[in-house]
Amino acid sequence: MKRSTTRKVKGISYQILAILFASFMLIPIYQAVITALTSPSAGWVSPAPLVPTNVTFSNFINAFHLVQRLPIYLLNSFIYGIGVSLFSLIIAIPAGYSLARFKYRLKSPMMFFVIYANMFAPIMLLVPLYVIMKAFGLINTYWSMILAGSVFTIPLSTWLSVSYMQTIPVEIEEAALMDGCTPYSILPRIVIPLMKPALVAIFIYAFITGWSQQFTLALVLISNDKMMPVTQGLYQFFSRSSVSWGPLMAAILISTLIPVVLFLLVEKYIVQGLTSGSIK
């Protein structure tokens, strides 16, 4: 009897704590949604109502009038994101193969260097990256953002690739080696097809991280409005003296939809990869 009441009390109190926690996590998202749904004619009052009174969807159309280049910004962010993902894969897969399958003197130092490289952030290298990209004539091009962006996603991509390869039994590859295959044909023919979940995880991880880092990198690498990623593009409207919050929040919601949906689809793989790599 006593036991079942304590269970009930626990159940209820945990539920309350979980709801409080979830509310904290959802506050800004709720803010964005109610602002985007509030008719501009409603006018701002303080305190603002907690539930929108004059619901409208017109802000989602006005978003494209306010931020006329919104489709272009989104396309740019997409190109930068996919470029960073592809680059990370092209580099992380062979590097992961090298670190997971071969024994050599530089292996262990390289592993630790990869972990160390993961600690760098764009802010530390903004000026030299700008100077290098300028020397190559790449300022205001897709290449500058993709090359500079990949540097910060390659380390963890490599780590994910190593830890996934370690879970694939090596026997198949050894048999192929006996049959006269070389490591250069084993990687594309045998290893890569077996790595599909890891490929997806790396692609999405790099895409999302790349998408997030676009803002800081674009501060120095992109000044041409037509080349801006969506975060920087929207920031221009955000830093004006009078901000149209309704359409701006609608624009933010529209442009966060892609990364959120992608992440929800593959979150399982990413967490698996991260935990098997960095924790166990």
Binding site: Q15, F21, M25, P28, I29, S98, L106, P122, L125, F215
Partner: protein, 301 residues
Amino acid sequence: MKAKRSTPYIFLLPLLIAFGLFLIYPLGKVVGDSFYKFSFLNPSHKIWVGGANYSWLFTFKLYNPFFSYFIGALLRTILWVGGSVGLKIFLGLGGALLLNSEFLKGKKVYRTLLIIPWSIPWAMSAMIWYWTLNGQFGLINSIFLHLHIINEPIAFLGYPTSAFISTFIVDAWIGLPFMVIMLLSGLQTIPKHLYEAATIDGAGDFTKFAKITLPMIKPVLLTVSLLSLVWTFNSFAPIWILTRGGPVTATTTLPIAIYNTSFRYLTFGGVGKASAMTIFQVLLVTSVSLIYIKTLKGAES
């Protein structure tokens, strides 16, 4: 696997080239630049100044009679990072324990709700938070006003102390989902029979937490906290969007100071001085990384 000696290096080559060109070379450039005086606007016009940029770090004062601009930023960074990482660990562990509890219903829903903030680009989250913290119409003010916790709206980002606290809470909000999900996967590896045995022995919830959960989760907690520590030291976009380091210098952490000195305060700053600051930022991050790598090595053996 048996192969020629050069084979593993050939597979590693693309990585080495990418790191060499866009990580090690720029890092070397930062070291070199820290001995010159020059502006971002004209990077080819460099004047050798020796160690002057470094002594400037400790002598140049801005609105603060006690500490130099750099030392102030450094101390502020430590406090700010402490606040943010402290919140991330405390709430992260709390959230993970809740999601791992057998008493909680609707775990899948909570998990999904947690993933959504994780995938929003940081700059977007910061822009939404800026509006949420708005001194008149923001949701935080309207919740507090409706609950009668306050009578007058507060301009959270307008005062030094509240801006400092608000920015690190936003940063913690951004980093929390990662913490919860990682710690949760750590908690899930603890064998259930340990708790069952403890229950039979009559152990209470707190004893179970202190004697089973905490020791079992310690390696995960340590690695995740160290990772989070480095990322938080590097946090730039959230503060930049919320306050640009202000009011005055209240939220000017080291990354913000580096950015402002390179690109905004051209009258007193410049790339050379910012590069000298970056060296300290790199040293700070390197020392945490060394601890991190040591922990990983310890876990391996």
